[in-house]
């Protein structure tokens, strides 16, 4: 159980960033994962007054504020038209509607959780994160970085022409995934993002459709936990990538 000494609604990103430099302070997302932890938070920093709870669409990109919720992703018509429903598919089995009304995109992406459906689906797309101090960097680079005290401002999804398919294997509908898989066909290459390995999602690419599923399964490290063994996850990886490739018409 966590305790919180003080709560602040930051009035600027600079104020939030300054507060976040103290290791005992924490930025709040949906607070769903954070609340299950232990320890004492000196100041809980809330970004809810900074207008970061929207998804803005232009001709070139979607700009998803870090406080937009997973339910916003699920219901956004433009984003789901662009992804062929993959964005909604990736979040629809995350606990329930109430949970998805609270869980934020920023919390999911920033956490780089090993079980994350959200990181998995966006990693397959042409995505970037905007960090307050670190600027705009590719999501793939961000996914591999160590956590620091910067602030995730928004997720940027470029409208690069693509086809993408998302699927996951769950032991039970609203449980964490045993394995999560997003495969995209973009810029003449195939991109497979594999999450719930159960480590952070990672991305593999190939120009060749043939043998891609086997290549991904052979090169994505997996581990075992209560939901499944490493061998089972590797087997599922090959199956889900093959199915996705069939759906994309690549095989």
């Amino acid at each position: 159980m966590i305790t919180i000494q003080k709560y602040v609604r930051a009035q600027s990103l600079e104020e939030a960033w300054q507060l976040n430099q103290n290791k005992r302070n924490r930025i709040l997302g949906g607070m769903l994962w954070l609340r299950l932890g232990k320890g004492s938070i000196n100041t809980a920093i809330d970004l809810c007054d900074l207008g970061l709870n929207t998804i803005e669409e232009t001709e070139e990109q979607f700009s998803i504020g870090s406080m937009a919720t997973l339910r916003d992703i699920e219901l956004h018509e433009g984003l789901n038209t662009y992804t062929g429903g993959a964005a909604a598919n990736a979040v629809k089995d995350i606990v329930g509607v109430q949970f998805r009304n609270m869980a934020t995109v920023g919390g999911s992406i920033w956490g780089r959780f090993g079980f994350s459906d959200v990181l998995t689906v966006f990693l397959a797309l042409d995505c970037y994160v905007e960090l307050y101090k670190g600027g705009i960097i590719p999501l793939e680079q961000f996914a591999a970085m160590k956590k620091d005290n910067d602030i995730l401002v928004r997720l940027i999804v470029k409208k690069t022409p693509c086809k993408v398919v998302y699927s996951s294997m769950r032991n039970q509908r609203t449980d964490f995934p045993v394995i999560a898989c997003a495969v995209a066909q973009m810029n003449g290459e195939y991109r497979a993002s594999i999450g719930a390995r159960p480590a952070r999602a990672m991305l593999l690419r190939s120009a060749q459709a043939e043998g891609f599923a086997a290549y991904v399964a052979a090169n994505v490290p997996t581990e075992g936990n209560i939901r499944g063994s490493a061998a089972y996850r590797t087997h599922l990886t090959r199956v889900l990538v093959e199915r996705a490739m069939n759906e994309l018409g690549g095989m």
Binding site: I2, T3, I4, Q5, K6, Y7, L28, G30, M31, L32, R35, L36, A44, D46, C48, R71, K92, D93, V95, G96, V97, Q98, F99, N101, M102, R173, T174
Partner: protein
């Protein structure tokens, strides 16, 4: 910290600790339909509406309700009375413990989608766990209610 919110249609002000969760705050205010179940954001028992959207009060800080409108079942009894009888007729509220969460989320479902399919009902209520009935009773009750509206 001082907070101001609208609870079941009434403006209230209160002083809360920074880590008081909304569930405890609401129960202190007499909203005893809001119950603690899993306490891990998974069971939906503590569902309330914040600005019309269903959320989990066990995992929401009370200070985050500042400036917002909260509805609990106490404030929505008339709207709920339309369909809870149909659920009761199916014996779906067997022990009744999960019922307030189911009813609150069903209200949210029917406001968003007044004529859902069975799969849409299942999907929307997937975040509400029932320890005894097996869910078919709730589904039949809601389906019977929807059918009665069309008759």
């Amino acid at each position: 910290m001082e907070i101001k919110l609208k609870l079941n249609g009434k403006n209230i002000a209160a002083s809360v600790e920074a880590d008081t969760v909304l569930l405890d705050f609401l129960r202190e205010k007499g909203c005893l339909s809001v119950k603690r179940g899993c306490d891990t954001s998974n069971c939906g028992l503590c569902t309330v509406l914040m600005d019309g959207k269903p959320i989990l009060s066990c995992s929401t800080l009370a200070v985050r309700a500042d400036g917002h409108e909260i509805h609990t079942l106490e404030g929505l009894q008339e709207e709920a009375s339309d369909f809870v009888g149909f659920i009761a007729d199916q014996g779906a509220d067997q022990c009744g413990f999960c019922n307030p969460g189911f009813v609150m989320n069903t209200i949210a479902l029917l406001r968003e989608n007044p004529d859902p399919t069975d799969d849409e009902i299942r999907a929307f209520l997937a975040g509400n766990l029932c320890r005894c009935s097996g869910y078919d009773g709730q589904l039949r009750g809601i389906r019977n209610y929807l059918n009665s509206r069309k008759a």
